[in-house]
Point group: C2
């Protein structure tokens, strides 16, 4: 889906957006959730109706999580962030997890040449995501174009939408192909399917730039007289070069199938908050805020705020050098993580999780 | 699909349309086809590329016929006309026949409330169509939303279209739901599926008002580098009251499940070419041209041009009275046909024909 301008809104803009669309900061719910670095490090930043979901949960109602992936290439660690959030929720609440692999999305947006091309990546990506350790009794992965119910539910949902609403939401015009506006209905079908099939409320972890689809999904749910989906908003993490992470700009991200050399090379040229020379760094200290390496260490490596704070202090004191200390630490961590996850991915028995209905 | 203004074009308009879109009169092919009242009575009026299809057939290439039905109510004899054409082609050339029952079409156009509602009519309509006597080894009937390949092929086809083209073709705007432009791709998927799956060229018998979809289908076929579908154009038959036949105006048509009384009542108030009084009719004679009863006798009852000509002469001579001769003859014929087809329909074993893939 098209990324919108909301990606990097100012704090004031964000506050307005939160108020307008009834999004609440996650801090409000900290006492109701297990301790997790996903919250401490503000990887989850906000929510809509998660409080409602937690109330229902306390009353004995289970819930489902829907989190998809468009399979047109290898997975990078940025993609996996959202699935770490999904796993956190499944572990904490025993939630059912549905992972649609939207080959149809990739096709209509022209990212792949045929559905067949997506199949390789769909199965590859599924293995990697599942390698995070999802519960096979509560987790279903499916390829969207292969599910019989997807087209049927999308048809029923399409009737609750208009072309003008969808064109606005997607930011497309009449030069787009008719599969694109229909895909909005398909995506809503993915989101609403657990509620339609089991009555469970759904929560979807997404980026703020995707909220427009959540709002459409909620409107449709209301018109179908079913529970509206809740959402969790995941922080937008910048890439190693300080630009948005993007699969089409491979150097912005670390892919799980990157070689040791690639990981090392990408991280070695990351944007940091260091001084131009070793002498200056020793003398003045570095600046951890705005340092991509420090940011990535927090999100992917450090285990606690305390650990992060200690490293920040060492950096400011001039005790750390970007190229001798922090970058190698990050690179070694990623080389280890990439090896671990690809090894686990190979051992995944997809049949335990694949759903074709 | 929306009926267009092309329904009742003047002869001059038709000629222009034929030239512009490379449609040819069927008369040109009379010597290459078995004798049939469908041609003698101009029920089939024109074609595009049927000559090409016949050439390929002579070279040993079989072909397929696709002819669908939107299942939202009972079938009338007007609907069955097109399937008589299909059967004529199957009998003459051993062609494979595919009959999509487009519940998805009926849903997105708001003619039914849910796909489930269409299922009853889909199965009912299939029985009636099949009661015409299709070859079970060469005929497949399927419900569109239940076929796994429909959504997949429609996605691939959608990529070859633009919203603006489809909106123009369907005459819809942005207030329509996104299922409507996508349905254009679904309909093209029905048409192109035999060619995509078996390489056989397809021929589609349709009304001239539907030609815009054939032109879209041909454009897509060209872009997919497969054989373009041919078409046969079926005459537009007016209803008993002289207005277009329409399921939503039941008195314009005779439904196969109409009771004897309903058939009798509808035909008794049909528009004829008769005089206001019996005396005038005997004196001046009637006017068979513009008489709906004579028209319907030709299409549904008479077996030869000679028989039709004899009746026309009797009418002009004042030897026939609308209410005493022609209307009862037509009514008795329809009562018999309705009984025959519903009896045969009940005996159809749908499993011999139903395709779910």
């Amino acid at each position: 889906m098209k990324k919108h301008e909301t990606l990097q809104k100012s704090t004031a803009d964000l506050k307005r957006m939160f108020e307008e669309f009834h999004i609440r900061p996650i801090e409000e719910l900290v006492n109701r959730l297990p301790k997790s670095k996903l919250i401490d490090f503000k990887i989850i930043i906000a929510h809509r109706d998660f409080d409602l979901l937690l109330n229902e949960y306390l009353e004995g109602n289970k819930f489902s999580i829907v989190s998809g992936r468009g399979p047109s290439g290898p997975i990078h660690f940025g993609h996996l962030l959202v699935f770490r959030v999904v796993k956190f929720l499944q572990d904490a609440f025993g939630a059912n997890v549905y992972i649609p692999l939207s080959d149809d999305e990739k096709l209509v947006f022209g990212k792949i040449k045929s559905l067949k091309d997506a199949e390789f990546w769909a199965l590859d990506n599924a293995r990697v995501i599942l390698a995070l350790g999802f519960d096979k009794n509560r987790t279903k992965v499916y390829i969207s174009s292969k599910q019989r119910w997807v087209y049927k539910y999308a048809l029923e949902i399409a009737r609750k939408l208009t072309l003008s609403t969808v064109k606005n939401a997607l930011g497309v015009d009449d030069s787009s192909n008719p599969g694109i506006p229909f895909y909005a209905a398909v995506q809503i079908a993915h989101i609403l399917q657990p509620t339609l099939d089991t009555g469970e409320r759904v929560i979807v972890p997404i980026g703020l730039d995707q909220d427009v689809y959540m709002r459409l999904a909620r409107d449709v749910a209301e018109r179908m007289k079913i529970k509206k989906p809740a959402s969790l908003y995941i922080r937008f993490l910048l890439g190693l070069n300080g630009q948005p992470m993007s699969s089409s700009v491979p150097d912005t991200a670390i892919f799980v199938n990157d070689s040791e050399e690639e990981i090392w090379r990408k991280i070695m040229k990351a944007v940091t908050g260091g001084q131009p020379t070793i002498e200056e760094q020793r003398l003045k200290g570095g600046n951890p805020s705005g340092c991509m390496v420090f940011e990535w260490l927090k999100v992917f490596v450090f285990n606690s705020e305390k650990e992060a704070e200690e490293y920040a202090q060492l950096c400011k004191n001039g005790d750390l050098l970007c190229g001798f200390d922090c970058k190698p630490m990050l690179a070694r961590a990623f080389i280890k993580m990439a090896k671990e996850i690809t090894t686990k991915a190979e051992k995944i028995n997809l049949e335990d999780f694949l759903w074709e209905a």
